[in-house]
């Protein structure tokens, strides 16, 4: 077994119709058996990476290999090694759960008997066996996502691509899906996961890549990323917009590159929490600005993302 499951070199892609440069020279690697979290806001290029690596579209330049197989020349072999669960729960809502999985198994070129038994096995595994003969129109959002995930597993893929697997799900369904994904990883599946949820990346991913406007802007383990951008975040909440404005002015003069703002909360990131807290409070106090909240914490991935891109991840 190859040690590198996915290898991406300088991938670029511009969509011909919209002329949008979706990817602009992205490179990364995923080791076999690991989970890569691809993090970024809408339109960052996450789905484009997934579509290229799952052979749906071709890149304009750059190359990619799946288990050492070149994406361009070994397309058919690669298709048999991968599974894709899509952003929009791409299953047929007019078919039953059983019919959907049988169809996908057949299209993976399994014979009829094997296709049916695979469908039943997966329905059992994802707790959908009671709903197997119901059309998907009657499924809840969480059930559809589970069926979608099940459909991506019919060929026992060595690499699983999950494009925003839990977007729009309620917390309980999300937890259920996370469990399923973690079980797959335990059994040795390599996973590339795109997400807008930092918590999701934090929880599932061994390595995180942050992309924005088609470029890779950070790469590391969740812990690395958080450390690299400071060990502490001081958040102060101000009473009103006016106070926020003057505090922003004062603090940005002192901490030009480390200041983030969200509504009436200002955040300053630093390597030295205690000293920074004192500095911030001194400046605020010296100018008679009233604060209504103070919090010193470790940076979240949200803070990291905010520092990197100047916007919160779910903003747009």
């Amino acid at each position: 077994m190859n040690e590198i499951a996915i290898e991406v070199n300088d991938l670029s892609k511009t969509y011909p119709k919209s002329k949008v440069k979706a990817l602009d020279g992205v490179s990364f690697q995923v080791k076999t058996g690991k989970v890569l979290g691809l993090l970024g806001p809408n339109g960052a290029g996450k789905t484009t990476i997934v579509r290229i690596l799952t052979t749906i579209i071709k890149q304009d330049s750059g190359s990619a290999k799946i288990f050492g197989l070149d994406l361009a020349s070994r397309t058919h072999a690669i298709k048999q090694l991968i599974g894709l669960a899509g952003q929009y729960a791409a299953v047929d809502e007019n078919l039953t759960g059983f019919e959907n999985l049988t169809m996908i198994s057949r299209l993976n070129h399994m014979n009829k008997v094997a296709a049916k038994s695979k469908a039943l096995e997966l329905l059992e595994k994802f707790d959908l066996i009671a709903a197997k003969d119901r059309t998907l129109k009657t499924y809840s959002g969480g059930m559809r996502r589970r069926l979608d995930l099940a459909a991506s597993l019919v060929n026992n893929p060595a690499i699983l691509f999950l494009d925003e697997p839990t977007t729009g799900l309620d917390p309980q369904s999300r937890l259920m899906l996370w469990d399923s994904i973690q079980n797959l990883v335990k059994s040795g599946t390599t996973v590339l996961l795109t997400t807008q949820y930092l918590e999701e990346a934090d929880r599932l991913a061994d390595t995180i890549i942050v992309i924005d406007h088609g470029r890779l802007i950070a790469n590391g383990t969740p812990t690395d990323l958080k450390k690299r951008f400071g060990s502490s975040v001081i958040s102060i909440t101000l009473r009103n917009a006016e106070a926020t404005d003057s505090a922003t002015r004062l603090l940005s003069a002192n901490f030009p590159n480390k200041l983030l703002s969200e509504d009436n909360t200002l955040k300053v990131i630093s390597q030295d929490g205690p000293k920074l807290t004192l500095d911030v409070l001194r400046i605020i106090d010296a100018n008679n600005i009233e604060i209504v909240g103070l919090n010193v914490s470790e940076p979240s991935l949200d803070d990291v993302f905010l520092t990197l891109t100047g916007q919160t991840i779910q903003e747009n």
């Binding site: 058919h76 298709k79 894709l84 899509g86 791409a90 299953v91 047929d92 019919e99 299209l107 070129h109």
Partner: protein, 271 residues
């Protein structure tokens, strides 16, 4: 895993054709099941031609006298043509809907025959057309239509119609692949299908039309098909040989030869 890698290097023509056929059957089955799950759609798409039958038979028909034939016998072959043409519009609509919902993304990532996504659709729509044509045959008989030739000749007429509708389906495949969503696919289809259907010999003899329209109406493929089917079903006009049937087969095969590769090319050239 090594098995998979070795097998895939052996890909050859017989294998691709085998999988094209198998995957087409899987996709056809899927599309037909979908139709049975939305019986309303089938009901209303059948109701429309039934209403046309009633409209022309009982409202307009008496005002359209045609020599040597009862109007109902003149009408029904035309209705058949209209029915299959309007039916083939659903190919584009269904495809646009699949694209919109993202299920085609999944198909593209599977090791299946790409072309089967399209052939599974056009063949399912032909099967659906067979069902609708059977119903219309029943309705036709109920309103007084009678075969003037033989059952075999009548069935040949139907086969001619279905071949043509299959060809037209490939045109609507291209429409479906070009449309941003199913609603647009639908509104894009009617300007194409409407003039071909109504500026033809389907409902009235082309001789009644103004000269500029008559020339178009005489030679365009839908009129050729209507003339051929009418001759096969009710032997009208009686004293000519049916060159239109040969002509119509050429139209259909020619259209398939051009539209099918275009559709496949458009589909494989992913956005």
């Amino acid at each position: 895993m090594t098995d998979v890698l070795q097998n895939s290097t052996k890909t050859n023509w017989t294998k691709s054709i085998y999988w094209l056929v198998t995957d087409t059957l899987t996709m056809t089955k899927r599309n037909l099941i979908s139709y049975t799950r939305i019986p309303q759609a089938l009901f209303f798409s059948t109701l429309q031609p039934v209403m046309f039958v009633l409209l022309f038979r009982y409202v307009f028909g008496n005002a359209i006298p045609i020599k040597n034939i009862q109007y109902v016998n003149y009408l029904i072959p035309g209705i058949f043509v209209q029915t299959v043409l309007f039916g083939s519009v659903s190919t584009g609509i269904g495809l646009a809907e699949d694209l919109q919902k993202g299920i085609i993304e999944r198909f593209r990532a599977l090791p299946m025959s790409k072309m089967a996504v399209l052939t599974g659709r056009t063949i399912a729509d032909m099967a659906r057309n067979i069902v609708v044509v059977t119903i219309i045959t029943g309705v036709g008989f109920a309103v007084g239509f009678r075969i003037q030739t033989s059952v075999l000749s009548f069935v040949n007429g139907l086969l001619l119609l279905l071949l043509f509708s299959f060809a037209v389906s490939w045109g609507f495949t291209i429409v479906g692949l070009s449309a941003p969503n199913s609603e647009t696919a639908q509104v894009m289809s009617f300007p194409l299908i409407f003039p071909l259907t109504f500026a033809s010999s389907a409902f009235v003899p082309v001789a009644t039309m103004p000269t500029w329209l008559r020339d178009f109406a005489t030679y365009q493929p839908v009129s050729v098909l209507v003339d051929a089917s009418r001759k096969l079903m009710v032997n009208f006009p009686a004293n000519i040989s049916n060159w239109s049937a040969v002509e119509s087969i050429f139209w259909s095969l020619g259209a398939i030869a051009i539209l099918l590769p275009l559709a496949v090319y458009k589909f494989s050239k992913a956005k």
